[in-house]
Subunit: 210 residues, 2 copies
Amino acid sequence: MNYSVVVVDDHFLLSQAIGGLVQDFKKFKVLYLCKNGSELLDKFDDKKNIPDLVLMDIKMPILNGIETTEILRKDFPNVKVLALSIEEDEYTILKMLRAGARGYLLKDTKKNILEEALIQVMEKGHYYTNTVSQILVDSLENEIDTELKEKEIEFIKLACTDMSYKEISEAMCCSYKTVEGYRDSVHKKLKVKNRIGLVLFAIHHNLFTP
Amino acid sequence: MNYSVVVVDDHFLLSQAIGGLVQDFKKFKVLYLCKNGSELLDKFDDKKNIPDLVLMDIKMPILNGIETTEILRKDFPNVKVLALSIEEDEYTILKMLRAGARGYLLKDTKKNILEEALIQVMEKGHYYTNTVSQILVDSLENEIDTELKEKEIEFIKLACTDMSYKEISEAMCCSYKTVEGYRDSVHKKLKVKNRIGLVLFAIHHNLFTP
DNA sequence: TGAAAAAACAGGGAAAACACTGAAAGAATA
DNA sequence: TATTCTTTCAGTGTTTTCCCTGTTTTTTCA
């Protein structure tokens, strides 16, 4: 019996192409393709459309991979999710795994590795490459006191523009001194030494997309 | 007779998958896949390996799509290049077209559009979507006095780190005041008002990849 | 080789960013 | 209600960035 697979990716070409690869694998068949999480969930209204495994991109419009995976884990725990993303960003990988993904395939995956990963996810329940395992280990060490508050995240996003802190304080409807407080606290938490460092951090960790 | 195609992309999965799609098209056959421009040029040493068309990604390690396309135009003018990139960035598209690409496919291309594009490139010599045409038009207006000197580009790259200008002056082996001069001149040329603005500009225009 | 242009550098002042300590107001908890 | 914790904000001083106006040195080229 074949396992059914759905590919969710906003890049049409990529999802079609990956669908084509998966279709070639003996143990798998592709049910359909989706452009984002929302479209996937709509499909699930009909039970026939619920697959064994979802190959999920992360950056997608409307409903992204992380949010979608969280919903799936809650509402459809039998559906296994394998993340498949073009860029390897530690925080994103972590978030995706926390959300419930059974593994994470990086961009330079080869066809036979994809097949191997699909098989392992279905039969062992998970698939982790060395890279991903290493990231998991590394994360346990650096994952202290980097919990950002709502306001701090809002501040960081504004700090990633060419606004001055005075302008930011007006945009956030608070005192200039409060903004300085946010700055000092995120500088400490994220261990950056100036605003440029903060911008680079935000980009690398997907708090801000330039 | 079939046109021969080579796919150049560092994302293994993507190049394999696209190769699979192209293989399905009647008029085309895939010669081989490459991971970057350097690998492609190595292959060209043997005349048998020179295809009619190259489907080229832009961001690649070692030798990127723009550089590779420039070399191809000079040394192998009969090989047509069609750019195929995941992210649509105006400046990148422009650079690629200037380098000699016959067209530019955006991420949400569908299978039949890909085929259409391949056919048009081979038979008409080019393929431009509306999006790309619009970008070409827009670019003619903003393209005044943004000629950057070597030193200024070097400065910009360093300004995209968390170094202070004093540290940058040491790295560039020149006076602090000279660095201030570079800063003032690029601020004027690029119409940015502070260092954050400069970093964002650099990222958007691929002077710096975070 | 001499004039013009470009690149490197300098001074100084205003503005912004950084770094610290600490106080007041509000929310949470027991 | 008292206590703790968090959030917001203030004071103060230092460093860095920004933005002028210039001078000296090097390059260019007619």
